[in-house]
Amino acid sequence: MSGNWPSIQFPNLNDDNHEIQSVPTQEYNCIAWAAGDTRRWWWPDDPKVGYGYWPPGVKREVSLDAFVEAYQTLGYEPCLSPTLELDFEKVALYVDSGGIPTHAALQLANGNWTSKLGGFEDIEHKTLECLNSQLYGESVSYLRRRRRIRPLA
């Protein structure tokens, strides 16, 4: 099944490694989705012209440090790898070739990952590499927090 996103942007995605889990919506993005927020669009844009939500107290800049800090406000702490640990939920941060953060994915209890593709659909994908691309780059930073029961949607 193909989503509404331009398929050329994710050459690694195929019918066998992902499933679409929602309809497209502009209400939230990947950063919000991985943070468990489906009501806001998270992005540290310039408040003079931008409109994104960013956690209060976190530096408002598009840097890996700022994104790590944003998830730390939710109880996440940096960890070494994306390997599944049953007691922890993990977030993976992607950066592009310039080291600019582009995307966040949340690990599910089954070891798969869930991602919101910009303003398009949410998908469940088997590996982080499924979303490696020119647009998203690749995952380079991982955070974890002790798993607690919370709805994903």
Partner: protein
């Protein structure tokens, strides 16, 4: 300058409601003789009709395509010409806006960056349309939730969204539509 008549199906487009509104329903200032105003006159351009009855301009649902020669004489009145030019300009803005919006929506990537979304060339050109784009953007925002906030802020220099509502797309849309109503951009 002689009378320059509007022709049915001419490139001119009269928004009859706007015309009535612009002249507050009274065309006395145009200097059209009272005798003429007592006659029903219909101007139909691109299917939009107006009736002038007893000094009042009223929009018509359908135009007959009939225009009296005597009324044509007054169509080169500066104020009416200005109105027609404004409507020509608004039509061009509407057409350009539709074209750019389509390009922006179809070429968008799966980025989460509000900055990248707003930096798309078509989106930037919509910002370049300036204030005439505001009612079109607000109309579109009312129809479908999307990332219009950057453009609205850039064009108007205003922001009705308080910091606590940042990122809440639906709430921000409602606030901008309310702002548009207060400013007369949204009916």
């Amino acid at each position: 300058m002689g009378a320059q008549a509007l022709q049915t199906n001419d490139v001119y487009q009269i928004n009859a409601s706007a015309l009535a509104s612009a002249f507050r329903g009274n065309i006395a200032s145009l200097g059209v003789p009272k005798t003429l105003l007592q006659t029903r006159v219909t101007v139909s351009v691109e299917g939009v009709g107006i009736s002038i009855i007893n000094s009042r301009i009223e929009p018509m649902s359908t135009g007959s395509g009939m225009m009296t020669t005597s009324f044509q004489t007054y169509l080169d009145q500066p104020i009416l010409r200005l109105f027609i030019l404004r409507n020509q300009y608004e039509k061009r803005v509407r057409d350009k806006f539709s074209e750019l919006m389509k390009a922006w929506k179809t070429e968008r990537s799966a980025t989460s960056s509000s900055a990248l979304i707003s930096m798309h060339p078509a989106y930037q050109r919509i910002i370049g349309l300036g204030l005439p784009a505001i009612p079109l953007i607000l109309c579109e925002l009312g129809r479908e939730l999307d990332h219009w906030f950057w453009a609205l802020k850039a064009i108007t220099g205003e922001d009705p969204v308080p910091p606590k509502s940042r990122g809440k797309m639906k709430e921000m849309a409602e606030m901008w539509l309310e702002w548009g109503k207060k400013r007369g951009y949204v009916r």
